[in-house]
């Protein structure tokens, strides 16, 4: 026996819905949202995913999705459903996440979220109900409104030169390599509806099988906004809308995907790009470097002293040593006062934030930086100071202070420009975290001006020796 009846993924009664009618939807007679809901609920039943489904409702007439679906529900701000869905899916990879959206939501206010979720290939399922109008707010023009279509905001019909053309989201999304499955279907004749049913099931099955991003655009009707009775609305959809929004599969390589992070290979060679960026040029160490404790470093000085580069070198030493590394320059207002600073984290564990509020290593190369940052250094932290430039002395009881005339030494080496690398040498010696040879090899790989490599190496060694052997 075959019975077609209300899917059990709907609540038996819609208790969250206001008013006396707890078994009908809030939708107008003949509204396409009802059909789409029914097919999604049926697919949830048949795939056995109700318990782990999270339905993200949009803003629009379907804002009340949580009245109906007996699963996890979140209602997102207008247009943001795919961003919210991304967060849910990433935090709960076992959940099945549906981003259900209208055309105003998905293709107007939420265009950015829509495209970027697709471009990232999030392992979510997007159901896009395109009814060519803003239903909820009273029938205004949507991005998908047809040329000539009269709406509350286009009383003389949509005009191409004034309002632009109806936007074709399935076509646009199908150009993104990371989108796996993109199809446009319609709530039209029974044949169309059964095709839509199949597409909905496929898009959910893809997610169950971790095959990445699926997008189903469903041409739907808004009899109220269109001011038509229901059968006429379905005729208009079939005769007019499908001309502008052709039905069919726009992309389907989801089946070839081995997992949700599968990405098609783009036609460029990463190595060619890396060649322009020194960071990619070195070979990593065989074994990760062991750190006694993670390093939270702050580098500060005048602009032009190579402070940011010094921090970058440090981060690159860490990267080459297979540590987790972050480098972030400060672009605060103090930059304009001629000072610069950057923060570097090196750690065996993953780094939560690139910011360093409480450094355990501080390198200062001018007086204002000492005044600004000394107090932030943790008790027992190390502070390295260019003693040729900075006049005052830090608190030696609280901190491990190393005074080194870095700029003077750099001058002796050949150019004050390598004072930062003198500091790098001193830092390596002071922290004991890296072998001098290892740092030297890293510098050879990353120093961009080839003619300065030798001078940099000399500066590195001088800084190292100064700390280890007192000069």
């Amino acid at each position: 026996m075959k019975v077609f009846e209300k899917p059990t993924s709907f609540y038996p009664r819609f208790e969250r819905k206001g008013g006396p009618h707890k078994e009908t939807t809030h939708y107008c007679p003949g509204c396409g949202h009802g059909n789409v809901h029914k097919m999604i609920a049926e697919a949830m039943d048949d795939l056995g995913i109700r318990e782990r489904t999270v339905f993200v409702s949009p803003v629009g007439c379907s804002v009340f999705g949580y009245y109906y679906f007996d699963c996890g529900n979140i209602q997102a701000a207008h247009g943001r459903a795919p961003a919210v869905a991304t967060g849910i899916k990433r935090a709960n990879p076992d959940s099945i996440v549906i981003s259900y959206q209208g055309d105003g939501d998905l293709a107007a206010i939420g265009t950015a979220e829509t495209l970027h979720a697709a471009n990232r290939g999030e392992n979510i399922t997007v159901f896009f109900v395109n009814n060519a109008i803003y239903g909820m707010t009273g029938g205004q023009m949507a991005p998908t409104t047809m040329i000539g279509q009269k709406t509350a905001t286009t009383p003389r019909g949509r005009i191409e030169t004034e309002h632009g053309n109806p936007i074709r989201m399935a076509e646009i999304i199908s150009t993104l390599p990371a989108a796996g499955y993109v199809e446009r279907v319609a709530i039209g004749t029974s044949k169309h509806i059964m095709k839509a049913r199949k597409a909905i099931r496929k898009a959910l099955t893809n997610q169950v099988e971790n095959r990445g991003y699926s997008f189903v655009e469903i041409l739907s009707v808004c009899p109220t906004g269109w001011k038509m009775d229901s059968p006429d609305a379905r005729d208009w959809l079939l005769n007019e809308m499908t001309q502008v929004f052709p039905l069919g599969v726009y992309k389907d390589d989801a089946g070839e995907r081995e997992n949700e992070w599968y990405r098609p290979v783009e036609p460029f060679v990463p190595e060619k790009v890396d060649a322009y960026f020194s960071a990619g040029n070195f070979e990593e160490a065989d074994e990760p470097i062991k750190l006694d404790k993670s390093l939270q470093c702050k580098f500060a000085g005048f602009g032009g002293q190579g402070i940011l580069t010094l921090g970058l070198f440090m981060a690159q030493v860490g990267m080459r040593g297979k540590l987790h590394a972050s480098w972030i320059p400060s672009y605060g207002p103090e930059m304009r006062g001629g000072t610069a600073n950057c923060s570097v984290n090196l750690s065996e564990a993953r780094i939560g934030t690139p910011l360093v509020d409480r450094p355990n290593v501080l390198v200062v190369m001018n007086q204002p930086s000492l005044e600004a940052f000394e107090k932030d250094v943790v008790d027992g932290g190390t502070i390295l100071i260019d003693s040729g430039i900075v006049e005052s002395k830090p608190d030696g009881d609280r901190l491990n202070c190393i005074l080194i005339p870095a700029t003077k030494i750099a001058d002796e080496v050949g150019t004050p420009k390598v004072a930062n690398v003198v500091m790098l040498g001193a830092l390596c010696a002071a922290t004991g975290a890296f072998e001098l040879d290892f740092v030297e090899e890293t510098l050879r790989a990353v120093v961009k001006k080839r003619n300065l490599v030798d001078m940099n190496i000399t500066a590195l060694k001088r800084g190292y020796d100064f700390v280890r052997n007192g000069g």
Binding site: K2, K6, T24, K38
Partner: protein, 76 residues
Amino acid sequence: MSETLQKADPFIEIDGELCKGCKLCIDVCPKTVISISDKLNGSSYHPAYYLGHDCTGCGLCFYACPEPAAIRVVKP
């Protein structure tokens, strides 16, 4: 004999109180065995009703109907 045959016939049930009278089920039914009532239901819609015979149990009216629980199709 004829009674058991009749019992085995496919049929639909329309809950007149849950129907919004959109007529989409009528539009899609290949056997034209659904009609619309003259009377109003509690929500002021003219509900659809089954003529009582010749349904094939194809289920098309079920999918054409936007309401979750207005139509139930049984194909024994």
